[in-house]
């Protein structure tokens, strides 16, 4: 894609993030409001880089206790066994339901880690004004936004297990502290993916600085 194309930014136009209407902002410094829906106009998502970095770093910090602390504590006949996320995966593999074990492994371990790495990679690419590969980065952000929600899987598994297995003193399951950190990872990475503005990837394109 090297042929001439024109962006809204070239013409000083702004797309409304709410309704998609293309309009001319009141001024470059104070863009004002969308004439159709009244939402505040922003040329790019406000403070996209800083906000996305902050959310990603916070998620990366929560990722450690999310995996190290138990998410469930099973008590059978008085003896308690704590289980981490990986412990749950191992349980599914050894109990013969390896397809489910694989799904939980992907949703709870690989997707959150992949999301953190992918968002960091996109941010670094924008900050280094990397040229080329915009389409691959675009596919990455779309994938992150599409599959990110699936890392909520373990939260639901834990919730329904805890809700159902309350047969003390025979057998009961309590949630562990890891679950709240894991929930934080999911929410923070989803917010990070939303606050990132993919147009920043293309603003570094030489197309932006050529007028024909």
């Amino acid at each position: 894609m090297t042929s001439a194309g024109l962006t809204a930014a070239h013409l000083g136009l702004t797309t409304c993030a709410t309704c998609g209407l293309l309009s001319r902002p009141a001024s470059d410094t104070v863009p004002g409001h969308c004439p159709r829906c009244g939402a505040s106009l922003h040329r790019r998502h406000p403070d996209a880089i800083q906000r996305t970095w902050a959310l990603t770093i916070a998620a990366a910090i929560c990722y450690i206790p999310a995996n190290a602390l138990p998410v469930m504590i099973t008590t059978v006949a008085g003896s308690a066994t704590p289980d981490t996320i990986m412990g749950g995966v191992v349980f599914l593999f050894t109990s013969g339901s390896w397809p489910l074990g694989l799904i939980v492994l992907i949703a709870s371990v690989l997707i959150p880690l992949g999301k953190l790495l992918a968002i960091a990679w996109l941010l670094i690419a924008v900050q280094r004004r990397a040229l080329g590969g915009e389409r691959a980065r675009m596919r990455t952000i779309r994938l992150v936004r599409l599959i990110g929600r699936w890392s909520m899987l373990d939260i639901f598994v834990d919730t329904f297990t805890v809700a159902l297995v309350q047969l003390a003193p025979l057998m009961s399951v309590q949630p562990g502290l890891g679950v709240v950190f894991f929930g934080a990872v999911v929410v923070l990475t989803m917010l990070a993916a939303e606050s990132f503005d993919p147009r920043l990837l293309w603003d570094r394109n030489p197309l932006e600085s050529t007028h024909d």
Binding site: R36, V162, A163, V165
Partner: protein, 230 residues
């Protein structure tokens, strides 16, 4: 003036927009300006530069999603009011609902997690369906008042947090795990929870936010501004 790839040249942007009588749009993915072609039924246009979907043209963008939204709302109520699954071991039995699960998390000292589950499994899908119901009913007789736009925006913000498909898989994994320890039975709610992701996906496919915005009154009743190069 208008290339086959849909890109616009500087001095022709306004003329191209008015000639095709279709407004110019900037791609939300890469900011490239382009004029959308007139879409045939069920057509979909992608940005030639970054591949983002720019517009869709569902066959019946109001009545069909409205019917699906009513169906989904009924199914959501069933999923939330009937037991999802039951458990029996050594003569003792237990059962749970979606909000019952969230409440147990809350009472077991995991208030935040309980709230998150309630939001993703019941509150966000419920509010999303309620807003969609109001929006789709209101736009049946255009012009629709500006609050329709506000509700549509809120529905858009809620959509990523409504996760019935993730909840369903979570339920199934929990069923398999517990089946190792006790006898589990599926409840009516489980079947409703199984239908919900299908209905929500069908709403998303049959719905076109652009068609709604075209029917909403502009804030302050302005006429569309001329989009021209300086």
């Amino acid at each position: 003036m208008l290339g086959t790839d849909g890109k616009i040249r500087l001095d022709d942007a306004d003329r191209a927009a008015s000639a095709s009588r279709q407004p110019a749009v900037a791609c939300p993915g890469c900011d490239l300006l382009q004029c959308l072609p007139r879409l045939g039924p069920s057509a979909r246009v992608r940005c030639p530069r970054c591949g983002e979907v720019l517009a869709t043209a569902p066959v019946d963008p109001i009545e069909r999603p409205l019917a699906l939204t009513v169906a989904a709302a009924i199914v959501l109520i069933v999923a939330n009011t009937t037991p999802l699954m039951g458990l029996a071991v050594a003569g003792r039995a237990a059962q749970t609902t979606i909000l019952g699960g969230a409440l147990t998390m809350w009472s077991q000292g995991q208030a935040l997690t309980g709230a998150l589950v309630a939001i993703c499994a019941a509150i966000a899908p419920g509010a999303y369906l309620l807003f969609m119901l109001a929006v789709l009913t209101a736009v049946r007789r255009p012009p629709a008042p500006p609050w329709v736009g506000t509700l549509l925006r809120l529905a858009g913000h809620l959509q990523p947090w409504a996760m019935p498909e993730v909840m369903l898989l979570g339920l199934l994994v929990a069923l398999v795990k517990i089946a190792e320890l006790a006898t589990v039975t599926a409840g009516v709610g489980l079947y409703a929870a199984g239908a919900l992701p299908v209905l929500l996906a069908a709403i998303a496919v049959s719905f076109d936010p652009g068609a709604i915005w075209e029917r909403v009154t502009w804030v302050g009743n302005e006429t569309p501004p001329r989009i021209a190069p300086r």
